[in-house]
């Protein structure tokens, strides 16, 4: 692990918070590729064979990270991307460029550690290219301050080339959201497959916006996008799922489940399906409402109270 000189304390603080929240000690493991960013500084970098990581901080504070993975590289241990902010207020702006070659297998685990901030705007823009026949998994987990002063924006644009597979999991279920705006726009080429999953638990006056777009441009490409939002108290949640069937035999399915608990909750979902090729097929499922009565009553008939049953169901949905 290459800890940048002068930033040892920040590195250790972030890693300690991560380890406390996840019981995972990968960030100190020299065999694990890692990028650790604190505020507008890269405080730790570790690369592995077949992978190049370059970072640059512009004068205006923008942190730019380029990740390149060579063709035919298999990275057996997940690559960790850890971004944190240890000041009380501020702004963190990050720009990631991923260029993933052909025949690559890699899994990224991204953690956003924003547990100590009172007011923060965290903006992360990513461009990702996934080469032919590659298999990429990206898991993104957030830990925010419980006072709700965090505003996270993640904007991702991707191209998944022929026969490649991409899966993403975006989870913000363990701590308070604050405000979050997730945008993911993916272009799929011939035989490419994607599976997008996002799960968010809103409390108090959290604001949640999700927009996922799948552009099925290649023949026989396919994608599934599933969003689950549990909105409580006075949470506002708005989910847009879009799928465009632009090629023969392209198949897309979008699903949005928003579960509400609380009289001041405001939630909405808009599915957009557009077929531009007669052989393409798109489907969607959406539900907005309370926890299903038959689920509650099933658990209550086994002795759980209504609140215990609701918690049990929601824990499952957000697991």
């Amino acid at each position: 692990m290459d800890i940048v000189k002068g930033y040892e304390e920040e590195f250790n603080q972030l890693v300690d918070i991560y380890e406390k929240n996840t019981k995972d000690d990968s960030l100190r493991n020299p065999a694990v590729a890692t990028i650790i960013i604190s505020g507008n500084k890269v405080v730790g970098l570790n690369s592995v064979k077949g992978m190049k990581i370059n970072s640059k901080v512009r004068n205006d504070g923008l942190v730019m990270v380029d990740v390149e993975i060579e063709d035919n590289t298999v990275i057996p241990i997940p690559v960790h991307l850890c971004t944190g902010f240890l000041e009380k207020t501020g702004e963190q702006i990050l720009k990631f460029n991923y260029n993933i070659g052909a025949n690559v297998r890699v899994k990224f685990k991204s953690h956003c550690i924003l547990t100590k901030v009172e007011k923060l705007h965290h903006y992360m823009e990513s461009d990702m290219y996934i080469g032919k026949n590659s298999h990429v998994v990206y898991e993104d987990e957030h830990f925010h301050d419980e006072r709700g002063g965090v505003f996270v924006e993640t904007i991702t644009k991707m191209k998944v080339d022929e026969n490649a597979y991409f899966a993403s999991k975006f989870y913000e279920t363990k701590t308070r959201v604050g405000r979050i705006n997730v945008v993911m726009d993916i272009e799929l080429m011939k035989n490419a497959k994607v599976n997008l999953e996002s799960k968010i638990y809103g409390k108090e006056d959290d604001i949640i916006d999700i927009k996922e777009v799948m552009r099925l441009n290649g023949e026989n490409s396919s994608g599934v996008a599933t969003s689950t939002v549990f909105a409580t108290d006075a949470t506002k949640a708005h989910v847009i799922n879009e799928a465009y069937g632009n090629a023969p035999y392209a198949r897309g399915h979008i699903e949005c489940n928003e579960i509400v608990k609380g009289s001041d909750v405001s939630v909405s979902t808009i599915p957009v399906l557009k077929v531009n090729n007669e052989k393409a097929e798109l489907t969607h499922e959406a539900s907005v409402g309370r926890i299903k009565q038959d689920q509650l009553e099933t658990l209550m008939s086994k002795g759980l109270t209504e609140d215990e049953a609701a918690e049990f169901i929601v824990n499952g949905l957000l697991s």
């Binding site: 689920q295 009553e297 209550m300 008939s301 086994k302 759980l304 209504e306 049990f312």
Partner: protein
């Protein structure tokens, strides 16, 4: 003893259950028999106290205590359980967690319950109780869950529905096992093979108890008359 006393239940101005009275003694196996649509499942839901099944008239007594106004949870805590005809699905919840339900149950007990319903523990404990389970698998998991509740009274709503014909022996075996454990079984069915396991049965027609008595006699009548009747308002006209 569990007693239904002159129960009336209506929904949207339709009288579904009309003055039904029943008794269920501890440790016995009872059948509630009748064609589809006569109100058999409704009786089960009324006993369990489901939200849409509050009675308009009558009382439910458990060991002389009036439980008519008790919640589902309170009835469950008093030992009443329901094997659902079509059990709900739960995303993200494993069979192991579903069977445990926040209780500390030794793994061995969970495995025994799954073995009783012919599900291999190694294959099923970590499966999710979601749409990926077949109807039959889901029903068997529900049956295992009921076994682990160790209820005093178990309402079994069409225990064989959704389960392949080869599993009928398993259901009969589980009924036997539960009876030996001291559970009173209230079996809602229109399948004769299941009804034959009952000691005493109620034949329901159009929301009324049309006949009651020894199960063999009730089945005989049901086979001769109800099977071909298709006339769910018979009792009302009678």
């Amino acid at each position: 003893m569990l007693v239904l006393e002159n129960i009336n239940y209506s929904k949207n101005s339709n009288n579904i259950i009309k003055g039904i009275s029943m008794k269920f003694e501890e440790g016995k196996v009872y059948g509630i028999v009748g064609n589809n649509g006569v109100g058999k499942s409704t009786i089960g839901y009324i006993i369990m106290g489901l939200g849409d099944y509050k009675v308009n008239e009558g009382r439910i007594l458990l060991n002389n205590e009036d439980i008519t106004e008790l919640s589902i949870t309170d009835r469950a805590k008093k030992g009443i359980a329901l094997l659902w005809q079509e059990p709900a699905r739960f995303e993200g919840i494993t069979v192991k967690n579903y069977l445990s339900l926040n209780r500390k149950i030794p793994l061995k007990e969970l495995e025994e319950a799954l073995n009783l319903v012919n599900l291999e523990p190694d294959k099923y404990l970590n499966r999710l109780v979601d749409k990926k389970l077949s109807g039959g698998e889901r029903k068997k998991v529900e049956l295992a869950s009921c076994i682990l509740l160790k209820p005093k009274y178990l309402i079994m709503d069409e225990p064989d529905s959704g389960i392949d014909i080869m599993s009928l022996d398993m259901i009969v075996g589980v009924m036997d096992y539960l009876k030996k454990q001291g559970t009173t079984l209230i079996v809602i069915t229109h399948r004769k093979e299941i009804a034959r396991q009952c000691e005493y049965s109620y034949l329901i027609c159009a929301g009324k108890v049309f006949l009651e008595g020894d199960s063999d006699k009730i089945i005989e009548y049901y086979e001769k008359t109800c099977d071909t009747c298709g006339h769910i308002n018979y009792a009302e006209e009678d």
